[in-house]
């Protein structure tokens, strides 16, 4: 997967993943990989700054939780109501974009 391509859709992917429920970093990476059959493979180095940015924008909220296995706590992120609104907006934007591109390159709608 081209890093630039991933970068362009990273926010949408993260918000959509958190729309299914609270997740911490490791889970988010695993979920994105699983649901895209490994097409998107992101590194924590990309993930955490993006999560921090989304949290700063108020779209997600992070809280430290200790996992059942113990050890250091992980930061579990939840989509905020503002984040849900943003996700809807980004989904619509993405749909418009893909329809427009499809109109040029052809192929199934």
């Amino acid at each position: 997967m081209d890093a630039q391509q991933l970068k362009g859709h990273l926010d949408l992917l993260l918000l959509a993943t958190l729309d299914t429920g609270p997740r911490y970093g490791g889970q988010i990476i695993a979920d994105v990989q699983a649901s895209t059959d490994g097409y998107f493979s992101m590194r924590e180095g990309t993930l955490y700054p993006a999560l921090h940015r989304l949290e700063k924008q108020g779209f997600i909220h992070g809280e430290f939780q200790t996992l059942p296995r113990g050890g250091s706590p992980v930061k579990v992120y939840t989509l905020t109501p503002t984040g849900k609104t943003e996700l809807t907006a980004q989904r619509e934007k993405y749909d418009r974009f893909t329809r427009a591109v499809r109109g040029v390159i052809g192929g199934p709608a």
Partner: protein
């Protein structure tokens, strides 16, 4: 130092305070989680750690990206949060003495506990409000003690200190020494007076309201300047850093910004504020039961709310035409104060135009702006979409 510790240290370089601590804790949790997963796959602890750190990528790249998120685009917040550190660190470097602050002695002497008769004569709403304040401050005496400490007053700044600081900062200020009741500024040593500020005498020294600080600096220099820290900020003009305020009479940055923005709007038409807007200081004893606004961003971010609630209420009460009010507040626990009304039933709108429409229809409304105070010579207010803000119970 083990490899994980070293990795975290590199990856959080450049961050500070709570952010550094939180980022380090989050990375440690992530690394341990990865080590655990790799161990489940059969790797030894050492191999699992190596693999985990390899998975995370370059710690320097993480540090660069985290710094981009947490520092670069939010100069104001970074500078505001630097406050306490700035007071110690910056002051030493700049070697400009602090501008002292104090409260008006008469104001402090006016603090007293209401008599039982006065309390009994209050209408039910006002009585309930007073009781909530008593509860918050530990009774009538507790409230009075806070009042005597100046908690509900805006502080004043020593004029001697302020002029000395400007001089040290190489900002020429032509003050007319002939008047004692006002600080009169001229455009040049022999020029006509062009602005004056009322002064107060405290222990034989002249003081001016701290609320005028932003307007004062804008009137004496065209250089960019900013305020660092939410309480007792550092005023930065060019290379000069001037600490403002004392622990005895703390100066709140949001109140300087509130008064300064209202003042700046008179000449700066790019500010999306009403021409006449009344700033509401953060120092009043507000009703602890008043609702607040949940706003996006992170704590320490500064927001400005323009609302017409007081205008509409007072118009209904006495028929007068009051101005809208301006509440400049720093986000705290995800929220900001925006009213002293208990049940404002307020509509959140997206612009001053929408606020004007609401006012014309007699509808309580508020518009929220994010304040970029990086350069207070040209402050920037960006509307926060109404969908990103909500009214919440305290």
């Amino acid at each position: 130092m083990n490899p994980t510790h070293q990795f975290i240290r590199h990856a959080t370089r450049g961050l500070w305070g709570v952010r550094k601590r939180d980022a380090a804790l989050e990375l440690r949790g992530a690394i341990e989680d990865k080590i655990y997963r790799h161990q489940l796959c059969g790797l030894s602890e050492l191999e699992a750690e190596r693999a985990a750190l390899r998975d995370l990528g370059s710690p320097h790249a993480i540090a660069r990206d985290l710094n981009r998120v947490h520092t670069a685009p939010t100069a104001i917040r970074a500078t505001l949060l630097l406050g306490v550190v700035g007071m110690l660190g910056v002051q030493a470097v700049a070697q400009i003495p602090a501008v002292g602050s104090a409260f008006r002695t008469q104001d402090l002497q006016e603090c007293r506990v209401l008599s039982p008769e006065e309390v009994a004569s209050l209408p039910p709403g006002a009585l309930a409000r007073l009781q909530r304040l008593y509860a918050q401050y530990g009774g009538a005496e507790g409230l009075n003690a806070q009042c005597k400490k100046g908690a509900f007053l805006f502080p004043l700044l020593s004029i001697t200190d302020l002029l000395a600081a400007m001089s040290a900062a190489k900002v020429p200020v032509y003050a007319d020494p002939s008047t004692t009741s006002a600080l009169v500024l001229k455009e040049s040593p022999a020029g006509n007076p062009h602005i004056s500020y009322m002064t107060e005498l405290i222990h034989g020294q002249r003081y001016v309201s701290s609320r005028v600080l932003m307007g004062f600096v804008r009137s004496v220099t065209t250089q960019p300047f900013t305020l660092t820290g939410l309480t007792n900020p550092v005023l930065t003009i060019g290379a000069a850093r001037i600490p403002v305020g004392t622990t005895q009479a703390p100066v709140r940055t949001v109140d300087i910004l509130g008064a300064g923005l209202a003042d700046a709007r008179r000449t700066d038409t790019s500010l999306p504020l009403p021409v006449n807007v009344m700033p509401i200081d953060s120092t009043f004893a507000f009703d602890p039961a008043a609702p607040q606004l949940a706003v996006p961003g992170t704590d320490g971010d500064v927001f400005a709310v323009v609302q017409n609630i007081r205008r509409l209420n007072q118009k209904a009460f006495n028929g007068g035409d009051q101005s809208e009010t301006l509440w400049v507040r720093a986000r705290q626990n995800g929220r900001i104060a925006f009213t002293d009304e208990l049940t404002p039933n307020v509509r959140l709108v997206n612009s001053q135009a929408e606020l004007d429409q609401a006012t014309a229809r007699g509808v309580n409304a508020a518009v929220v702006y994010r304040v970029n105070a990086t350069n207070l010579q040209h402050p920037v207010l960006t509307p926060v979409p109404a969908t990103q803000v909500r009214v919440v119970k305290p």
